[in-house]
Symmetry: D2
Subunit: 342 residues, 4 copies
């Protein structure tokens, strides 16, 4: 079988590093180009000692080179910049899997509201597919630009969507309270992310208006089949390297029982290799999913308040970013969905 | 000034250790008796190497000895057992400051519901004072048995109570989502609390029906001036040693603004030495309160959903247990409230 | 290709869990039997939620069943007990890969000195092969009982042995100072391993006489070609879950330079897939090897004191236990040495 | 009693923050001036939320202002810069307690060798006192410039010095292997100190030639009464916020027994309030000294190799920097040595 030739554009951050880690052992891929402005010209093993022994080297990003040599390009770039690469690459037939936020929102107005800039390529939005395989597998098969979901949204949408779709819970009054490990902030050299500032620290940040909020709202509205939902999304930074746990409160609708929830989940996810639904009444634990592409879902029903309480756990760098991107690639190229991910 | 003679009953857990740490340097106290069944007969410095150089020794608990030598007894015992000590001690004039859960709930029925046992001393409940100084300072001054609040409740009640009392927020639909360090589980030698089981782990547990739930509900109902409130309380275990952060969602009532919240807090807490209200729009961070008796309160208003989002941070062993107990003692014995706590 | 049928005896500890994680995705293996007294009868996914979705179940250990169904048995048992299984299994033709300490020492006398018991099967010692592939690959190919090296010894022997063999360093005066993550203590439910006892803690333990000492001494003596060496081995417990770093001081012999050390290492390890020699003057970092089977080796030369300073980093559960065991199996069964390990 | 008026010059790092924490509750001190170029003009509570409620503000450093208002100035500045302040302040009668490295080495040549710059004020070196109270208490009483020891040196010198002074151990062949928490790197916003780069990481760095090496060698030579010693000093970075543990190997001289070591220590340290000598055969644990000014010393004798194995544990920010500086101030100003430190 011919190998897929792969480019990683912007490979020097934590998502890029995770792409490298996973693609290196992906039997159907060959890493052709890995770019980094910061490390251009440096051997990978020098810039990232995790990869000692690798014979790859970073190059400066060069769109023509990628077009000439690659079948697929993963963009692990800051938002705004990703679109600049996506357009020419996609035009030339390179499949684009974008890990940035540039193409996640369908509405340019929402993009502008949350990213304080005009959308860089609004004309592409209608053709882009939101790369959450469990929701959009069929469309991913034919997509030319795939917008990889954000980490927090993945941990919230997977637990909520099937219940909203069946009406077991209300789209009104949803609260997503999430905790993230520090790699979620990227390899950002900034005071709040120093070890002594994060260790033994628990803190909410951006308790409303976080950039992942409109993405979650968009997908929950789609799932519920309504125009819009307004939710609370409150992220927290906690001292782990990897892992997100989202705890989600939703209003149970009449007829909602643990048994019904279990049925709905099993119907939704029994054929999904990376979603694991826990036993009724359990809660997810990030330590069981870190370094994997799994999303674990726990569910509880609090009769005292009429709330369904969901928990979703993922590794923010794997199912929350690079693993999911590879899952998308596998689907797009007709490979087994789990290739390189187990 | 004559020193207060102090007993710590059940000093071998984390709360007991914190009492020892704080009382050792309390200028108005003398530790007369420290008991532990497990360590009876052992020098403190041997059982707890943090106290190398101390000449204290653990003894087996002996009520008569405490009555004969002490003015105050801190009970750091499992629930159920604490009441057995409280009764005879209080009868003999020893002031009892109970860190267990035995006297926190005013309703024996609620106690039975959550602790699966008849209340051990229902006849005392009416005279016991709930030892949250910021709410019950006057009563603490004359109390003979003081029930120290639980750690989670402290982090939730202090942020919520003043807003409920003024009607800026509704008592309906409150959700308290809390994260706790592992000392919150006590010095319990059990698999889930091993380092490798907690490190790099984020997990909700007891997402409804936790024993601190009725305590929070009781105090929020008192604050709101109504009979009962039903809330969600969802605790999480996260890999820090010390610290609780509670993030609380409440429905804003009309007229609720950041300015009004700030006013209410300043009115409520300006004279309280251990409550620190952050600037509007800020979130608390446990690292600024660990190893202190402070409770930091942050507040936000999400106009998009009409929610007030509060954050409360404490050290679970200090303001959440032993520090608060000493604050209660200071009040009860007419000492400066901050003695031994700054 | 016919799959190798595998038993894991004593699969409920951290080494057992790591064997399960690795063997589950090993394309040439089939897990036939996993035993645990504690979890016998329980589905794996219930006892260890990391494996949700697995259809394996724990059984009580049954030697006959293993003989009837398996080609290889990994023993992840306490020392003393392992030998009881090794003997009948090996006799019946099941290849035994023992992760315990029972067969690591060639000398029953040394075993007795350090394990306070007579060696359980001294007659087997001469036929057992010490399962460090980089030193004993040829013998492993034909071994029926393979004694997997200890975690600390692996991190110390791999850096030291080639230099001792060539005489670049002296066998006299070696000091191995090691730091280990807490999984190194096993899944032992004991006070010193609780999260709050390990977090924010740095401590040496057993600064002489640790059970891994005679094992290191044995192998360093073999490498140096002398009867015995006396070394210092000082282990420390530090708050990471996985990872060992050993920092080793050795006396440089005349002619020892960084260049010569590099040459010796490259000659020794260039064909070893799991040993990575860092650039001269570098130090290893466990975070680049955790969750891998690599051993990273750094080397420095301090002219000021005439010491060679080596650092060796491994994941204690992978290269330090279960990964190495699988590497041994791969070699023994003629598979590519890296099968299931990249 | 008149309060001592205090300046902290360069208060924005971790040592400065620890000085602020400790001096705020020091009953005999008044913080008059706290300087920071970075935060000049900002309220302390805004720049460092740990100090919410404080009415202090940072100012730009102004030597004249300090001279006009302060009795003592703590310099928490980068090396090189500290000397620029020390000279004019000391001349004007302000007692200088320097936490930087500028005055620790008696030899300008050694300074130049390790700091790659000419010593900024060699003429002062003879009058400066090395601020390790347990060694130089008498001189500190009259010093005008006190050079606070480095963190690593404190943890190494206190265990070694008395044994060297009595000849129980040899000054030849000493190896100091240390582990430090990440605050030891200062509040340096640099990639290697990000949480995900430190968490789950164990690594040696600067395995020879570290700037604390000549300081340790100087003091051990003084203790041994010889001109010079050459030692190995190998620091490691480990994932704790605070704490240093040094494990030290020394050659036992004849007559060296655990009993003799204990005697020597008790003679040396029985009157020192901040040195705690553990029971023979014990090892120190940083968790028992963090947030305190204690240095815990453990000692072992390995007859197998003839090595004395010492362990010394301190909090790098307290006994390793700011606590020790305050201890020096207490001594210099005739206060009880433990003022503000228990």
């Amino acid at each position: 079988m011919k190998k897929i030739n792969v480019a990683i554009v912007g490979a020097s951050g934590y998502s890029g590093e995770e792409l490298l880690r996973l693609l290196q052992r992906h039997e159907h891929c060959e890493l052709k180009v890995i770019t980094s402005r910061q490390y251009a010209g440096q051997p990978l093993e020098k810039a990232m000692p995790r990869f000692i022994g690798s014979d790859l080297s970073f190059s400066a990003p060069d769109i023509e080179q990628i077009i000439a040599t690659c079948d697929v390009a993963f963009l692990a770039l800051p938002h705004g910049l990703a679109a600049e690469y996506a357009l020419p690459l996609a035009k030339s037939g390179v499949i684009v899997i974008d890990i940035s936020a540039d193409f996640r929102l369908k509405s340019p107005a929402r993009y502008k509201e949350y990213y304080q800039a005009d959308h860089p390529a609004p004309e592409l939005l209608s053709t882009v597919v939101y790369g959450l395989p469990e929701r959009y597998r069929a469309a991913i098969k034919n997509a030319n630009i795939i917008a990889c979901p954000g980490c927090y949204p993945t941990s919230a949408i997977l637990p909520c969507a099937p219940l909203l779709a069946t009406g077991l819970v209300s789209p009104q009054g949803i609260a997503v309270v999430s905790m993230s490990g520090v790699t979620g902030a990227g390899r950002k050299v900034d005071l709040p992310y120093l070890f002594p500032e994060c260790n033994e620290s628990l803190r909410a940040y951006k308790p409303f208006g976080h950039r992942h909020l409109p993405e979650i709202e968009q997908e929950l509205a789609f799932a519920a089949g309504i125009d819009a939902v307004n939710i609370n999304f409150i992220p927290h930074l906690v001292p782990v390297s990897r892992g997100i746990n989202s705890t989600i409160l939703l209003n149970a609708e009449s007829g909602c029982t643990l048994e019904r929830i279990a049925e709905v989940y099993h119907q939704a996810y029994d054929n999904d290799p990376f979603v694991r639904v826990l036993a009724p009444g359990s809660c997810s634990d990030t330590k069981y999913v870190t370094m994997t592409n799994f999303c674990d879902i726990g569910f509880n029903l609090d009769l005292h308040t009429g709330k369904v309480i969901l928990t979703g756990a993922i590794d923010n760098l794997t199912k929350g970013a690079s693993g999911q991107a590879i899952q998308d690639m596998n689907i797009r190229f007709g490979l087994p969905e789990t290739s390189g991910l187990l």
